[in-house]
Assembly symmetry: C2
Homo-oligomer: 209 residues x 2
Amino acid sequence: MRKGEETRTRILDVAEAAVLQKGFGGTSIEELIAETGITKSGFFYHFRDKNELAKALLNRYIENDERIYDEIFSRARDLTDDPLQSFLLGLKLLSELLSDLPNGHPGCLVATVCYYERLFDREIQETNRNAVLAWRRRFGRMLRDIMEIYPPREPVNVDQLADMVSSVLEGGIVLSKTLKEPNTLAEQVLMLRTFVKMLFLPVAEMPRA
Amino acid sequence: MRKGEETRTRILDVAEAAVLQKGFGGTSIEELIAETGITKSGFFYHFRDKNELAKALLNRYIENDERIYDEIFSRARDLTDDPLQSFLLGLKLLSELLSDLPNGHPGCLVATVCYYERLFDREIQETNRNAVLAWRRRFGRMLRDIMEIYPPREPVNVDQLADMVSSVLEGGIVLSKTLKEPNTLAEQVLMLRTFVKMLFLPVAEMPRA
DNA sequence: TAAAAACTGTACCGCCGGTACAGGAGGGGA
DNA sequence: TCCCCTCCTGTACCGGCGGTACAGTTTTTA
């Protein structure tokens, strides 16, 4: 039972890297088994078909993603009680984590699935949709806590603001990968941080004309 | 000469829609010729291989993209001389244009190429990179004009702020497609508009505690 | 130590990207 | 009118890939 899990994990590791570089359609099972050092029969022992591989890949990715956010923002909450300060700190920590990735962010499987849409079954599309909705709820929860204390300077919809975190991350990944500038993603997260800070933090005194 | 161009365009139209739904790897030449009503030989008369199809597709997409931005922001400039107001108006017009798309945004080819990276040659990757850099220059130019008049409330790097426009658009597309909420993208553009407005517009009087 | 789990090996199918090449329809210019 | 050029069609073929089927073998573990 344990050996099987290990092989399965190795396949998923190889597959994830390949898929993020070439998409699902561009990744062949044959290359996966070559790199994993397994036979075709061995592969199909673990996954019925490519769709099931995708399902396992996506679920694992999302779980890991959630774990990382849990970790970062709970660490931020440990350092300050103020919801705004802890959110801003969380974004800072996230940006640092992203800029520490040696080869830049490898890409987001949610986006990959989004751009392969039509060739997956409903279940995997629903999984993907739920992942994005989970982000919305996660960031929305934190933003609501902030808004209970800090009135936003401009009227904003919480869900839309929460979505903006996801947008900037997803978009930042695309920019970073396309430009081959690993730091762009981290910078985008800091720009978002500036936005949130400006939106909620009381106005600093401005020089009067 | 004219008949050939027409067929070529028809192939590109069919291919673009397919690629945006299934990625390059997920789109087969056979399905393209079936839908276009052409033979395989006919297809290869127009495009040497899939890579050249991708090249033509991407170039056409980028040109069209640039044309749309040119149009929107020049229309905005016609309506006001103030660079900040015209940029904010441009974002509003863009958001309206996006929310008028009947089935939502079909997807961005730049992102598709980004997530298929490894299977394209250097030239197409370079084209993609240049497209993103062109966005940076375009929005950067407008933001610099703004900054000459309006001091930003928070210190920001112009290129990073310009990139944020691209980030929110790319990310908004991914969210909109994944959630199957066509309006999410338009809302994200308006959130970005709120950010820009807040960053540059002089502080409104706040109620003093 | 025997069953269960985790594979290997082999053979096969149909689809797909791509190549090669011969030929044909249709229009435009000499 | 004839020929040439553009724009295709038709046919045949190749190797790679996703996937199936299934028999057999090794490894793990209870």
